[in-house]
Symmetry: C2
Subunit: 231 residues, 2 copies
């Protein structure tokens, strides 16, 4: 239970990130003792999230310090990163020196496209999860999945659960519980519709229908490149 001091958390920030994928964990991180959070992107101009407004990166991919925890949120933009060699190289370089390599939601696809989940059990948004196999990961339908130093969270809101699990691993259960209490994380969803196991099957089918062919093709192209670079 010894943590580096300060603990450096590096999150990749990118256009069309799902805002809550980032902020759920970041809010937990903000309440941890002696912890720095860096938001890294190509440059430090404001980046538009999927909520339609902008967050300002705190550093660049070139200048970012080495992470103790590398974290990749998801969102539509996570798939655009497949073609961004500089961002994927950044993830590989950071991952090599990080104690933990992590993601939430479809951020696991970006990690996998960088070759960082090959042969690892990992999760993602439930509607995209089966596709993760195309990139060499082992799709695992759990809220938070730990395989070695890889920790992945499922869709969007799972980022809060993920971050508390991570906090407990690094700082111990008492610190994680204190953060949970301060964030009043005693959830009371008004409906039981948050998982494909409990939601109306028609609703589930309609949501799966949103994972379109173009996205599958992007994943397959990324998988082909990953195969080439491994040869």
């Amino acid at each position: 239970m010894v943590s580096p001091s300060p603990l450096r958390i590096v999150a990749l920030l990118f256009p069309d990130v799902t805002q809550l994928d980032l902020t759920g964990p970041a809010q937990v991180f903000s309440r941890l003792p002696d912890t720095e959070v860096h938001l890294a992107w190509h440059d430090t101009r404001p980046v538009v999230t999927d909520c339609g407004w902008s967050i300002v990166p705190t550093t660049t991919l070139a200048d970012c310090p080495q992470a103790d925890v590398l974290f990749v949120p998801g969102g539509k933009g996570a798939f655009d990163l497949f073609d961004d060699k500089v961002a994927l190289d950044f993830l590989r370089r950071q991952a090599a020196g990080a104690s933990w390599v992590t993601s939430v939601c479809t951020g696991s696809f970006t990690l996998a496209a960088a070759g960082l989940l090959t042969g690892r059990r990992a999760t993602s948004h439930w509607s995209a999860l089966p596709m993760l196999a195309e990139l060499g990961a082992i799709p695992t339908s759990e809220r938070v999945v730990i395989d070695g130093n890889r920790i992945t969270g499922a869709g969007v809101t799972s980022g809060i659960d993920f971050a508390l699990v991570l906090a407990a691993r690094i700082f111990g259960d008492d610190v994680a519980k204190r953060v949970q209490l301060r964030l009043e994380y005693d959830p009371a969803p008004p409906f039981d519709a948050g998982s494909p196991a409990t939601a109306d099957p028609e609703l589930v089918a309609a949501t799966i229908g949103r994972v379109d062919e173009a996205r599958l093709q992007a994943v397959r192209r990324a998988a082909a490149r990953l195969g080439e670079s491994a040869r």
Copy 2:
């Protein structure tokens, strides 16, 4: 179940806002049909949140369109707004024309300081809730409290529950359930420590100890001003 088109949601953005208070609801709002979210502050320069990084306002207090839903997140900065006459006037003006007047966490203190929760049942972060009586509201220990067109959410993470309740009121249960499924909001906290009812009593006492005397005095000064303006 008729909603205005587009539905205009106006969130007050301010320095030291608790980031998740804003983003939990904003993420739900971002998945609603025909909905605009505006982030309003004095000017459109980036505003530093309690996570240490910045969000860019989309409009100013002067230029902001009339809200259908007025929303105030909480955080340390919510108490600094007590002395900000322009911001409180903005809230009063917007509230007069809004269908719903809402807050999460200590945002209810800002609404109350503007005189917008007088005589209303309302909630807030559990550790601050009793103080809400000083500002004329009726502290109500529930996750989401509805009193007329006022809806308040409890601490931080309750914003997600609050926003789903609001979405159901405006768009109907089916739309809210669809958003819940897309955000995979099927929470699985690793500990049962998110409420003072379940957390370790020592942890609860330590967290209450953080609500300091200075904050209570600020609330009392705001209450005195509210009393004067009501005379």
